[in-house]
Each structure stands twice: as C-alpha cells, then as structure tokens.
Symmetry: C2
Subunit: 254 residues, 2 copies
DNA sequence: CGAGGGTCTTGACGCAGGTCAATGGAGGGG
DNA sequence: CCCCTCCATTGACCTGCGTCAAGACCCTCG
C-alpha cells in the first residue's frame, strides 16, 4: 500500500478495524462500489464509516433472515448467493453478489433481514453500520446520490430478472446468465470469456427458475453448438455474439 | 364524462393541475405514502415539494422508458401498471401500483426511465421533483429514512415476485396475486373480499408469467371450488384461508 | 492412494401449461 | 340503440421442461 501513512488518520477515533491496510481510498473496487463518483474528501469520510472487515469461509452465512438489520456490507473479495426461504420450505436463490456490490439493502425497510446471504467461496466484506451511514449521507450529497443510485440499480436489476423468469425460455435464461457473469467479470478486470463458476448447477437453476438437469442440458447443448466450452465449473465463451442472439431471441415465428 | 371539456382538450399533455386543495397534510393516504411516520413539520415541508398534480386517463403513460428522469410520482388515485419492454419486442408487466405507492424509482440509477408506467383507469398522481426531494431529505432525517424504507420494500417486494415466478405453479401464483390485491385494498380501507380488477387477464398473466388462458382457467377452477366468485373483472373472495393454503402449498409430497 | 460423498451428465418418460381456435359477453362511441 | 371492438371463457391438442433414475466425474479426507 501507500508508504508513509503513519501520521495520517489520527482523527479516526472509531477505527475499530485493526487492519487498516485496505481503505476505500486505495481500494481497487472503488469504481464499482460506494466510492464511485465521490470526491476524494467524501471517500475519506466514507472510509471512516467502515467499522470492520469480516472474513467468511465458504458456506458461512453473512446474514440470516430474521436477524436484526445493523449494517450494509460491501463485498471486498469472493462472492455470495442471496436466498429467500418461504414458509413452506421453498428456498430460492435470488441473486449472486460479486466484489464491489452491496449487501443488506433488504433489511432497511423493516429493520430485519429478509434474505439469507451465504458465501460461495472464502470471502471478505466491509461492514458499514447503517445508522452512521445515513447520518453521513445527509451531510454528503455525493454519498446520498450514490446510495440512491445503488438502490435504484438493484430495483432495475431485479426487474430484469423478473422478465427473465416471466418470459424467457430455458436457453435464453442460461445465455443471459452467462453473459451477465461475463460482463461483471470484465468490469472487475478479469477475463470476460474465461472464468470459473462459483455456484452449483442447482444454485444456477434455482436462480433461473429451472431444474439443475435443465441447466446442465442447456449448457451441454451450447457446448455442442460450440458457443461455449464447459467442463464442470470452468467456462470458456467462444461465441459471445451468438450467445447474445439467443439471449434476446423473440420467440417470434413472425 | 366530465361535462364540457371542449377547451381543456387542446393541451392534453399539460393537464397538470395547480389545484393544491389536496395536501399531504390532510391527504388520507398519508399513512401509506411518503408522509408515513413523518412529523407534522416534515409533512408540511414535504407538501411544499409536490410541484403539481397530474391527471391521466386510462391508457395514458405517466412515463416511458428512455425519457429523462425528473420526478417521482405518488399515486393519488387510480392505478397503474409498470412494464418493461425488451429489445426483442417482449413486453412484460412487472407490477401494479395503487394509491399511496411511489413510481419512478427506476430512473434514479441512470437518470433515465427504464420502465413504462401506464394508467389502468383514470388516475391522478402527485409529482415530486427529485433534485429538490434529495435536498430536502438531506435536511430531514425522517424523510430520508422513509425514502430508504420505501426503496428497500420495493426491493423486497420484487424478490417476492421472483420467488413466485421462479418456483410457484399456476394455481399458487394466481392465489398469491389475489391475496396480494386483497391485502392492498384492505390497507386502503376498501373491502378485502370484494373488488374489481383494474387489469385484464393478459396483464395479470404477463405479471405472473402465465398466459391469459391459464389465468382464466385457474380462476374458473377457483370459482368451481367455491374459493372465489368471479365474473369478468368482479371478484368476491369466499374462502381466504383455503386460498392462503394454496398460495403457500409446498409442492412437497414429503 | 483409495473410499466416499457431492456434483454433473445423460436418457426415458410424463404432465403442466402453452398454443390454436371458436364462441360468448360487455361496454363505449356514433 | 346498435354496432364494433376488446375481453374472457372453454375445449382440444402439443411441447418444453420437470421427474426419476443411472452413471460418471471430481475432490477431500483418512
């Protein structure tokens, strides 16, 4: 990190986090996360809000439905699935969260978490106590604006999933899913054409409203058609364009 | 309809009323809308933000995808459907908005509306310019909190729809839909057991990820089973409990 | 290095809901 | 008041995906 920071930060009376090696200021996710489009001043202040970082091992829950809502979390590394469990024992994956993305927005409305969030691999998050965050965003127009943007995008993103679940056929769903992952990997500086899935076929299926066998079959078909190569969790996208065509192919015979 | 409309007609688009006879302060929707849980002071100030009320006739669009985002709208009377149109010509209903509910949150993220909002009947909304709203919510903690709650609930509500679309069978979807309407009518002081649908079978189907014929068939079956009475748009709920059982019946044989 | 459990693939078959088509109502406009 | 258009209902048939089942692969742990 940046060499001599020793004399800085004395003002942070509340810097609970022992490990200060990662700060919003020099975090390489700042363009994807809350700091996006904040002024340097604001980023500094935001950094002060991060109460602690927390490590989770694969399979561990970051939050559980029913728990009181205290903090938002920004994914620092790794990835998560968000699940909703209905009374009748159904359990559905409603999303996957990657680095830079914000978790916990579900708790704001009722002060209680509604969804479960589980690490798909060993992961790390930054915790942001919400009460203090709200205070700060009253004083920083930029932070307020950015937070509103993030919530709005969450709403829009979910509407996209609703369209997927409501009107796409299995192949379109899977193609859309792969392209979505691809785009997000690219945004994080990883290869958009070669990556490892962090989730199982069952989790993908749950998210896409399909059974795991269908997900597997569709992927095999894409493989045969030489749109992708897939071996277990390893994905290589060979023909993004045809994949896009499939993803947005009106069923039209017209 | 409204008596002599000859001179009004000319500027249909500008049927914005300066009429301020309805104020948040005495609006009977205040418990369902933004003023919920605000102090009288805050409500007064919020009222000052409402730039105008706007009347829409059945079928008229409140906003269209692609238009610049300027204002949030609170539904004052009537109801709306929110639709998303995909490039490939698909068009899906993503929600229905009733009085007291907030429209326009989709535009915040990109300053451009993503969804179409169309009146299902003659309706009226209060327009709230967003820039001024953001300013005000920086100065009023209560308003800020309430706004965050509303966005969070929107997110949670959409997750519920995702579960519906992702894992429910047709009968469960329709039962869930009817109970949802019932609850919202009750919250507004109307009968929870007898009401008129404002949307067509096709719109319901689009929202529920079903075809209109399926919606019709399921409703007819519910009628035969004496769970409801339904004649065209008129609904009478006879057995809410059994409807609930259907809505949350795990497919489980286990 | 081998055993075992979780994950993935693939096949055969069935059914919920889609598709197509015909008919009947309801309501608004002239 | 009547017509016309939109909406809803119902039946018959079809198909995409779910279900069930059998193996194969992979990774971990002893």
């Amino acid at each position: 990190m940046q060499g001599n920071t020793a004399m800085l930060r004395t003002t942070e009376i509340f810097s609970i986090s022992k490990d200060v090696s990662v700060r919003c200021t020099n975090c390489n996710l700042r363009e994807l996360c809350l700091p996006e489009s904040l002024s340097p001043d604001e980023v500094l202040r935001l950094n002060g809000l991060v109460s602690a970082r927390r490590r989770l091992k694969k399979g561990e829950a970051l939050q559980r439905a029913g728990e009181p809502f205290k903090s938002l979390y920004a994914v620092r590394s790794g990835s998560f699935k968000t699940c909703i469990a209905t009374e009748d024992g159904r359990d559905q994956v409603t999303g996957f969260k990657m680095s830079g993305e914000i978790i916990g927005l579900d708790g704001i409305g009722t002060n209680t978490h509604i969804i479960d969030v589980v690490a798909l691999e060993d992961s790390e998050v930054c915790a942001i106590p919400f009460t203090r965050f709200e205070e700060a965003s009253r004083e920083m127009a930029g932070l307020q604006k950015q937070f509103h943007r993030i919530m709005s995008r969450e709403i829009v993103g979910e509407q996209g999933v609703m369209v997927l679940l409501g009107s796409m056929r299995a192949e379109e769903r899977v193609a859309t899913f792969l392209l979505n992952l691809s785009r997000r990997f690219r945004a994080r500086g990883y290869s958009p054409t070669e990556f490892n899935l962090r989730m199982t076929r069952e989790e993908i299926g749950s998210y896409l409203g399909l059974k795991l066998e269908t997900v597997s079959r569709v992927m095999s078909r894409f493989h045969e058609l030489e749109l992708i190569q897939i071996k277990q969790k390893h994905v290589l996208i060979l023909d993004p364009q045809r994949l896009k065509d499939i993803a947005s192919s009106a069923t039209s015979s017209v």
